[in-house]
């Protein structure tokens, strides 16, 4: 991942929502917002502050997206991904 950090568009230590994270780039979860139900479901699945997350690819129609978290693959819709703030450059 170190290599990627230098090439990727977002500057290190730049935070943004997960749905804008370019695929292949690892980032750290900073915050999970959204309604209680959505935030809870996301966090139950392991998307908690501090976890390392990576967008693997988007589905053919651009949504949902496939993310990788602790060696697990998850599918999220972009609406949910928008609730997750991540920090690039770990």
């Amino acid at each position: 991942m170190r290599k990627n950090d230098k090439q990727a568009n977002p500057e290190p230590n730049e935070s943004g929502s997960l749905d804008t994270l370019p695929s292949g780039l690892a980032a750290r979860v900073v915050n999970v917002q959204g309604s209680t139900a959505i935030a809870r479901r996301l966090m139950e699945m392991g998307i908690v502050p501090g976890a390392v997350i990576k967008v693997v690819r988007a589905a053919p129609l651009g949504d949902p997206i496939q993310v990788c978290l602790r060696d697990c693959q998850l599918a999220l819709r972009r609406a949910e991904a928008r609730a997750i703030t991540v920090l690039v450059g770990i």
């Binding site: 809870r40 479901r41 502050p49 988007a58 589905a59 053919p60 602790r70 998850l74």
Partner: protein, 718 residues
């Protein structure tokens, strides 16, 4: 056992224990290997049961813990990621686990199934259960896979950190099964352990001690009150909790997330202390397969090929066994007819019961084949990818990506398609999918389409090349899909309206499906279909037979009228025609004639509509009887001639191309299939949805036919 405690402080010997059946619950994340373990523990001693009043199924089996103890009742619960219930099945599973289910005794032991290769996420649910203080044994499944991926799990350390017995198992090879039984038997006899709660921030902790009045025993109660979605019922308590929540919210807007973060922190610590992962730096097999399967272009192409294979299988390969079953039952009916004296009883036996049983069994090949595919697709991990690929498209109609496979299967037959909606977790999404599945033009409509086209549209070409018949059939399929989309949209915005549940779907690692599990799933589905749907189909079949067979016509040698699978020779068809015209169905046909006349149908077609409620293709045999034509190999051509020559009282033809088109539209949209009704009854566990489905589809079919016929006439067609 509780009665035995005050009497004696000695360890209770199993044979001295009261002969109470132990209840053990099997719980864990989806895809954690729960089903494999359940099958390994119970073998074939299992049955599918419905929780009272709801659609959720539970499997119950018998598990011999040891030779001395009577077999324990093992309950397989739906897969859960968390105890905070988001859907109905999660709610039920939680109630069972916490001993709050009314009809199921509080489990003596909960076996928590944990995927060894995915400890952290699986431990989240375990942590929540530990907090409740329920007796727990952890089964670490797929331990062989963990070893293969160089994951070193120190069982002793893990067990000590978690405070419960941890048993590694490989369900497929039955490894660890005995150790698991021993661990469970040990827990049964030992005292309850204290609840384990993760430590929260000082602010939250002080609120908790305030709510529990400093009593550690009550901490879990205080914790639940504070962090659950609802406020407690008791007014004073309610106020206390409300104030505590407000204070916490002032300190931290996301105060509700604190326990979740604390649990994961604790889990990370436990796993770091007991597990070592030798990183091999290679991309996992799943990653490499996913690069192809969920690829932007390759993914949809592969999905198309897979679905083509499934479709081909249920559409055409199932045909041979289905025809065979049909022939066997026709032969059986004939044999009975020749050996028994003619009469009502023989007719009931042949046309009611034998035809009905044949009608039920005819579905088995399709169901078995579709479920063979679905089990393989699910167990291998492909199903989640199909949902991932199709989600965007399905969401446009308000449905989940998982609705795609059941809907596509419904083009072959809605019955297995509706059974396949089980993979959709959200109950409202599932019901919406079930409600529109019958609009997918199934194979039973094809004989009706082909008859109408052969009679009124054959040989015509559009633009000189494309046959008009093919265009009409294509149009029927497209009309079905369009109506399905509109209905789904309306349903999802009215009676099935609910905020979409968060779409967070696990894409489980690819695994080679276990043959035993697939066989188990097939066996379960078959029994469930035969027992629950089969009986309803048989009952309706007998009822429809009675409608056609009674009251008896006066003709002495009247042979039997027709139902779905029976055939009959030319002789006696005269009597049959009279019989059917005078029967209840015939009278009903006349009765409804004023209603169906605006659609272009006369009362004879009305009889066809009524009888085809058994199964759509039945209209062909019914029309054959009504028009007094035999049902031999030349059946179709003579029926076609009879239809073309049929005249109304005023001499105008009964059938015109427009009438045929109107009838096809009606057959596309009306729910004329008792098997579908029976399976919806079975899958939704109430008569409400199947009756609603029949009613709204009938209204839709009527209106669409009306528009077709009257609109066509206005445009000058006939």
């Amino acid at each position: 056992m509780s009665a035995a405690f005050p009497l004696s402080t000695e360890t209770i010997q199993p044979e001295q224990a009261p002969a109470r059946v132990l209840t053990i619950a099997l719980a864990g994340n989806p895809n954690a290997g729960k089903t494999s373990l359940f099958n390994a523990l119970t073998g074939l001693r299992q049955k599918v049961a419905n929780y009272p009043g709801v659609t959720i199924e539970s499997k119950v089996g018998w598990w011999s813990l040891s030779e001395e103890m009577p077999p324990a009742q093992l309950i397989d619960l739906p897969g859960l990621y968390s105890l905070d219930a988001a859907s109905l099945d999660e709610e039920i599973a939680r109630d069972v686990l916490l001993g709050q289910a009314r009809t199921i005794p509080s489990p003596d032991v909960i076996v928590v199934v944990v995927d060894s290769t995915n400890l952290i996420r699986n431990f989240y649910f375990l942590t929540q259960l530990l907090e409740t203080g329920q007796p727990i044994v952890v089964a670490l499944t797929m331990f062989d896979l963990a070893e293969r991926s160089k994951l070193q799990i120190d069982i002793d350390k893990l067990s000590k950190a978690l405070g419960v017995r941890v048993v590694p198992v490989v369900a497929k090879r039955r490894q660890g099964i005995v150790a698991l039984a021993e661990a469970v038997a040990e827990v049964v006899g030992s005292p309850r352990m204290p609840a384990k709660l993760c430590l929260l921030s000082p602010e939250a902790e002080s609120e908790l001690s305030l709510l529990s009045a400093g009593d550690d025993e009550d901490r879990y109660g205080a914790f639940t009150d504070l962090y659950s979605d609802e406020l407690p019922d008791a007014p004073d308590r309610r106020e206390l909790v409300k104030q505590a929540r407000e204070r916490l919210a002032k300190m931290n807007q996301q105060w509700q997330q604190e326990p979740l973060i604390a649990r994961y922190d604790w889990i990370e610590g436990v796993v770091a202390g007991a597990v070592q992962q030798e990183s091999n730096g290679q991309r996992s097999v799943t990653d490499r397969i996913d690069a192809v399967i969920t690829h932007k272009i390759l993914g949809p192409v592969i999905l198309l090929l897979v679905m083509l294979l499934v479709f081909q299988t249920i559409f055409s390969w199932a045909n041979l066994p289905m025809t065979l079953i049909g022939h066997v039952f026709v032969a059986l009916a004939d044999a009975v007819r020749t050996h028994l004296p003619a009469g009502v009883f023989t007719d009931l036996l042949t046309d009611g019961i034998i035809a009905g049983v044949g009608g039920v069994l005819a579905f088995l090949p399709q169901i078995l084949l579709l479920f063979l595919f679905i089990s393989i697709l699910e167990d291998s991990g492909y199903m989640a990818r199909a949902a991932f690929l199709m989600d965007r498209l399905m969401r446009a109609v308000g449905l989940h990506g998982k609705a795609f496979v059941p809907l596509l299967s419904s083009f072959a037959c809605a019955v297995p398609g509706i059974m396949a909606t089980r993979t959709i977790e959200n109950p409202k999404d599932r019901v919406a999918t079930i409600m529109i599945a019958p609009f997918m033009s199934c194979s039973a409509r094809l004989p009706v389409y082909t008859l109408m086209i052969a009679a009124f549209f054959s040989g015509r070409k559009v633009l000189g090349v494309v046959s008009l018949g093919a265009l009409i059939i294509l149009g029927m399929y497209l009309l079905g899909i369009t109506v399905a989309i509109i209905v789904a949209w309306i349903l999802k915005h009215t009676i099935l309206n609910a905020p979409p549940p968060p779409f967070v779907m696990e894409l489980p690692p690819y695994r080679v499906p276990d043959f035993g599990n697939v066989a188990h799933a097939l066996l379960t589905r078959t029994t469930v279909f035969l027992k629950r749907a089969g009986t309803v189909i048989l009952a309706i079949s007998i009822l429809l037979w009675a409608l056609i067979a009674f009251p008896r016509a006066k003709v002495a040698n009247s042979s039997s009228p027709q139902t779905a699978v029976s055939e009959q020779g030319l002789n006696g068809s005269d009597g049959s025609s009279q019989q059917i015209q005078n029967s209840f169905a015939g009278r009903a046909g006349r009765l409804i004639e004023p209603v169906i006349r605006p659609l272009g149908f006369d009362w004879k077609i009305g009889i066809g509509l009524i009888s085809s409620f058994a199964a759509r293709e039945t209209i062909i045999s019914t029309l054959s009887i009504v028009y007094n034509v035999g049902e031999r190999s030349d059946e179709k051509s003579s029926l076609v001639d009879a239809m073309r020559n049929a005249k109304r009282a005023d001499g105008s033809p009964v059938w015109t191309p427009l009438v045929a088109l109107s009838l096809m539209v009606f057959f596309l949209l009306a729910c004329q299939c008792m098997s579908t009704v029976a399976i919806v009854r079975r899958e939704t566990n109430s008569w409400r949805w199947p009756l609603f489905m029949v009613a709204y589809m009938l209204v839709l079919a009527y209106v669409a036919s009306l528009i077709t016929f009257q609109g066509g006439r206005l445009l000058g067609f006939s």
